[in-house]
């Protein structure tokens, strides 16, 4: 099955028509969860990344801040994924031809990959090499903020 066919079968699924028939405030509530999740994810990443860069909460170690923000990051990501699916499933056919939509998900895949590998590894080290810490902070920060920024662009193009 091609991606186009996959998107079309999502669009024509039973779940899609159930979601699509909801009052427009259903979409509004999904958007509210999406922005709440965005704030939780981005500011958790921001706190850890600033510390990796030697800025922000300098009185504490990177692992302390990583551990304290981790819960908020995962709650935020759960909000984003669930609300994102509710927004995507009823409108899959409209997203397919949107190139910004695809940029966003390439960036998201990269952000998640870095998060689960390099970022987790460096953030747990008591004293990472400053250059490695800084580079990791910079990569995580740019990837996650680019996901959010490109997400805002989808509706305009």
């Amino acid at each position: 099955m091609s991606t186009l066919e996959l998107f079309h079968s999502i669009q024509t699924s039973h779940l899609s028509s159930v979601l699509g028939e909801q009052n427009h405030l259903f979409g509004a509530v999904a958007e509210l969860f999406h922005i709440a999740g965005l704030i939780l994810v981005l500011s958790s990443i921001l706190l850890v990344s600033l510390r990796l860069l030697g800025l922000g909460l300098r009185a504490h170690t990177v692992p302390q801040i990583f551990k304290a923000t981790s819960r908020f990051f995962w709650i935020g990501l759960a909000f984003l994924v669930v609300s994102g699916l509710f927004l995507f499933i009823p409108a899959a056919d409209q997203y397919y031809p949107n190139s910004i939509f695809w940029y966003k998900f390439v960036l998201l895949a990269a952000a998640l990959l870095v998060h689960l590998t390099l970022y987790q590894w460096v953030a747990k080290l008591q004293s990472p090499k400053p250059a490695v810490a800084k580079l990791t902070g910079l990569i995580a920060l740019s990837l996650w903020f680019s996901v959010a920024f490109s997400g805002r662009f989808i509706g305009f193009f």
Binding site: I39, G56, F156
Partner: protein, 165 residues
């Protein structure tokens, strides 16, 4: 000049028209308005979570408040200035949407709460910030801040839903 007339002047201004009609500038300003939230509202949220005891509760409040202050204030400068630019571009349309004045009200209340907190508690956080029990007034300010800033984000996100019915 009434508020409606004034909003029309802003809407028709050279800056407002140029931003509204631009292909890239408008989405870029919208994008900055959104991601700067992580610095402004997002960082203030973590300060509030500390004040209410839900984040790094064993850490002195001053150790969180002081180093984050310049970052969150810079965040607010970006969020507010992009917000003003977006308002100018859409002024006469947005001013008649019922949730918009509500958003402004939440911003004013959240601002007053922040100034009151800074004045009463923020400047001497080293004195009470290490105590096992956080003073009641501080907890209240933290909870009020979370509630009011959430109100700002919620009413802000709902503007298009109330505008195109």
């Amino acid at each position: 000049m009434s508020l409606i007339e004034f909003s029309q002047v802003l809407y028709d201004s050279e800056f407002g028209t140029a931003l509204r009609e631009s292909v890239y500038a408008f989405p870029i300003v919208e994008g900055l308005h959104l991601i700067s939230l992580a610095f402004s509202v997002g960082l203030i949220l973590f300060v509030d979570l500390r004040l209410t005891g839900l984040f790094l509760r064993n850490v002195p409040v001053a150790d969180i408040l002081k180093p984050l202050r310049p970052w969150l204030l810079t965040g607010f400068v970006v969020t507010i200035s992009t917000g003003i630019a977006l308002f100018i571009a859409e002024a006469s349309k947005v001013i008649v949407i019922s949730v918009f004045p509500l958003k402004i009200l939440f911003i004013l209340l959240a601002g007053i709460n922040a100034i009151w907190f800074e004045h009463k508690w923020g400047r001497n956080s080293a004195e009470w910030g290490n105590l096992a029990a956080i003073p009641k007034g501080v907890k209240f300010a933290g909870l009020a801040s979370i509630t009011l800033w959430s109100g700002v984000v919620i009413t802000g996100r709902l503007i298009p839903y109330f505008g195109y019915q």
